[in-house]
Point group: C2
Chain length 184, copies 2
């Protein structure tokens, strides 16, 4: 992304990446209109739906990681709250709704400038079905989780910490990070 | 931001904002190289430092809201975790360090595409001092909080929920949002 940010989106002037006064970080600055363009991490928002101590996962119908299971989640959009974004993604991917949505995991992947904000919520009913981005949607108890067929490490941590909380009767909200640059 | 995104940062081609196949939202698309540019919310990350049930606030030396008090926070940067960003901002604004950093408040401002991710942490020591972006740094007990001189609603909610948690002996992590488009 940094290397590809070559022209100013405001005026099409050439961009230079340089240190600027009173700033801790170098920035992308337009050499024509002088606008400073700040590039920041993106939020992936999602919710792990719970039903009688089972959790709802969706099998991806799209790349990357097509055919693997995931906590329903996707990029947060402008103009929404992070929890509304999680509920939107759940509806898009699994045609499911939750109540009592609450924070569960904040998981940073610094290498690719992403922050997963994953919530918990109780499924309102079990009338779920695959959305356009999913091949299949299903409930899993802890011993049914397809650990080797999970799409992303964020899902594995999210599910692990949920069942850990259940055992400990805890409502702890977790922080996590992915530190290995390969095999995201 | 949407109105100003007129030229492709990759090739300087003209951008159109339009619906695209298999996407729920209209996007900014380059008419020359066809790149789809996704504009997403930004994270403001920060930490409310605690010392003997007092909290550390910083008085802003920069606009907006110069001269008003704030929970030390700022935009998360690419290449860091959200909690590391909070610790960096605390150091920049108050030359302070915390231990046991943990989530406290996720506060969305949909009208301006921001998500505040505010943590709690215990001050390591009281050798704090104003950074370049602060006029003053000080510890406040609950009855000393300068409620009418707080810079942002996120700070007011963050502090309120902290003292609420103390009274309830709770470690609840809160969700909040600012719904009024004016007077942010």
């Amino acid at each position: 992304m940094v290397d590809l940010f070559k022209y100013c989106p405001h005026c099409a002037g050439p961009i230079v990446y340089k240190s600027i006064p009173d700033d801790t970080h170098p920035r992308h600055v337009c050499t024509l209109c002088n606008t400073v363009h700040y590039l920041n991490p993106k939020i992936v928002t999602g919710v792990l739906p719970i039903y009688k101590e089972k959790v709802l996962l969706a099998k991806r119908a799209i790349e990357p990681r097509i055919g693997l299971w995931n906590v329903p989640a996707g990029y947060m959009e402008n103009g929404e709250t992070v929890e509304a974004g999680a509920e939107r993604e759940l509806w898009e991917e699994a045609k499911a709704k939750v109540k009592n949505i609450r924070p569960h995991l904040i998981y940073s992947i610094a290498a690719i400038n992403q922050v997963y904000m994953l919530f918990l919520g109780e499924l309102v009913d079990i009338n779920f079905s695959p959305g356009e981005e999913s091949l299949e949607v299903a409930l899993f108890s802890e011993d049914e989780i397809p650990w080797k067929e999970l799409a992303f490490t964020s899902s594995a941590v999210c599910i692990t910490k949920y069942f850990e909380n259940v055992k400990l009767k805890s409502e702890k909200v977790h922080i996590g990070q992915y530190t290995h640059p390969k095999n995201l």
